[in-house]
């Protein structure tokens, strides 16, 4: 009985993929690095630098950095991740799970220098390349932990006002970051009035299950549509009224001088009702540590259901 044949098969497949990436590229490749988890490519197309994983650049772009402007967020959904700022009751600490090139957390750090921003990234090479090419440096109130996101939270005793989740990257969908048990751990680490924002890619059935799973732990869901992605903002308790959110949005836009105005984002807010079954497939299952077929769900295209 032997597992070697399986391992060699996988290796051969990976090599073919790398070769394909070389063949099709036209942008200027600054560096490629094989890490513990990914084949990472850093490309330059002035003034932008981008990081991609795996061999499919179209799908697996992780992060884009404007080298002339470190507060620019060129990828639209990352702007909507900051919509979470108008939900949190207090703003003392922010946690980001899934750092990548670190644009979102760096933006938050630059505009809210007095708020402790912590990012958790599994892949040490991603952090290394972010520091080398994406203008990232660790400094007071900006910390990066090299850890599995769930493990970090399980072991942490801290609470956060905002938890941003953007951890399924490139070809990898870590199932243990998409289960009800995981979101329960997230909830346990939210401060009073805290909020979760998660980037979810809406083209496959994984979207329905992911949203339903978030909803199993957080009763309130708001969607923000960005091209190709949906940012889900989730929180506990009663639904926040638009006028209350507007109050906080106005205050914080002014207090921090935010480039991407919370007031403008608020106009894009869609409060979601799961129960009707119009938005989310009623047959979609809540994912648990026991049952989470994330790869399979990701392979089923989403049909016939309108996104708000």
């Amino acid at each position: 009985m032997d597992v070697r044949s399986v391992v060699f098969g996988a290796l051969a497949g990976a090599l073919v993929g790398i070769a394909a990436a070389f063949a099709q590229d036209s942008r200027n490749l600054l560096e490629q690095k094989e890490s513990l988890y990914n084949n990472i490519y850093v490309y330059e197309q002035p003034p932008y630098v981008s990081m991609t994983f795996g061999h499919n650049r179209r799908i697996y772009t992780e992060s884009v950095y404007n080298t002339r402007d470190d507060r620019d967020l060129p990828v639209e959904y990352t702007r909507f991740m900051t919509a979470s700022l108008m939900y949190a009751k207090e703003l003392h600490s922010i946690l980001e799970i899934g750092f990548g090139g670190g644009r979102t957390s760096w933006y938050l750090h630059r505009y809210l220098p007095n708020v402790a921003v912590t990012s958790v990234e599994l892949d040490p090479t991603v952090v290394e390349l972010a520091k080398k090419y994406f203008g990232i440096k660790e400094e007071p109130n900006f910390r990066i932990a090299n850890r599995d996101g769930r493990l970090f939270l399980s072991e942490s005793k801290d609470k956060y006002d905002i938890i941003l989740i953007d951890a399924y990257r490139g070809p990898f969908v870590p199932f243990h970051l998409l289960t009800r048990e995981f979101y329960q751990i997230v909830k346990d680490h939210l401060a009073d009035g805290g909020v979760v924002a998660q980037n979810v890619e809406p083209s496959t059935m994984l979207f329905d299950s992911a949203v339903k799973t978030i909803n199993a732990v957080f009763p309130q869901l708001d969607f923000y549509r960005a091209d190709g992605n949906i940012v889900t903002v989730a929180y506990d308790g009663a639904e926040r009224k638009a006028e209350d959110l507007a109050g906080l949005a106005r205050d914080r836009d002014k207090a921090f001088g935010l480039r991407y105005s919370l007031m403008e984002m608020l106009s894009q807010r869609r409060h979601i009702q799961i129960a009707g079954g119009t938005v989310i497939d009623p047959s979609a299952k809540v994912l648990t540590d026991d049952f989470a077929p994330v790869e399979t769900l990701k392979n089923i295209e989403r049909h016939n259901r309108k996104l708000p």
Binding site: D2, V7, L36, D148, L151, F172, H176, D290
Partner: protein, 203 residues
């Protein structure tokens, strides 16, 4: 050497396939038990794979050591049955055990190796004894040994492949990890039952 009957040979080859399938299927399932506690890192996979291979080495050595003492179908049937019983205990006990390991050892290599060991080592070592004993039971003459060994390992490796793919692409998407573990336990118990049947062990 006494030749096994036709029915008996068939039962042994079929069991080699099934045991091979469950073995790799349970390794794939191991990731579902470990990831929530120790993260989805390459270290967790390395621990799982090395533990499986260790278990196989132990099984092969143990099998070769005892094969001359207890060369019977009942011996392998018994080992498969004990492995089935171990698997049947896993769903109810895995979470407290993983939690304990996480709290005592953290999440480094020693923790993932310990967790993989707790989960896999005992049942897979028992299943590892299958092939050497099966080869011995099926071999009639000394010249026959190579041919039989090749067949047993070939069949069992095809079982490995089938178990890996079936678990990953059919079982995990359809039912929960705990249920799959019970299915594996039941399949192994059935396999042990077949091995216990008096299929004319000796002519």
């Amino acid at each position: 050497m006494t030749a096994p009957s036709r029915g008996s040979s068939l039962a042994i080859y079929a069991s080699a396939f099934v045991v091979g399938g469950v073995l790799m299927g349970f390794e794939m399932l191991g990731s579902r038990y470990l990831f929530p506690y120790f993260g989805g890192s390459i270290g967790t996979w390395a621990s799982l794979i090395s533990t499986v291979l260790c278990a196989l080495a132990i099984g092969y050595f143990a099998g070769s050591a005892i094969v001359s003492l207890y060369p019977s179908q009942k011996t392998i049937g018994l080992f498969v049955l004990i492995a089935a019983a171990y698997l049947a205990c896993v769903p109810a006990t895995a979470d407290p055990v993983m939690e304990k390991i996480l709290s005592v050892l953290g999440d480094g290599p020693s923790a993932t190796l310990t967790a993989a060991t707790a989960l896999l080592l005992v049942p897979l070592s028992l299943l590892g004894t299958f092939s050497p004993i099966a080869v011995s039971l099926l071999t009639r003459t000394a010249e026959d040994a190579g041919r039989v060994a090749g067949l047993v390992y070939g069949v069992s490796t095809i079982g490995n492949v089938a178990g890996t793919l079936f678990t990953t692409f059919t079982l995990i998407p359809a039912v929960g990890s705990r249920a799959i573990t019970y299915i594996f336990a039941a399949v192994l118990a059935g396999c042990a039952g077949v091995l216990f049947l008096p299929l004319g062990n000796k002519i």
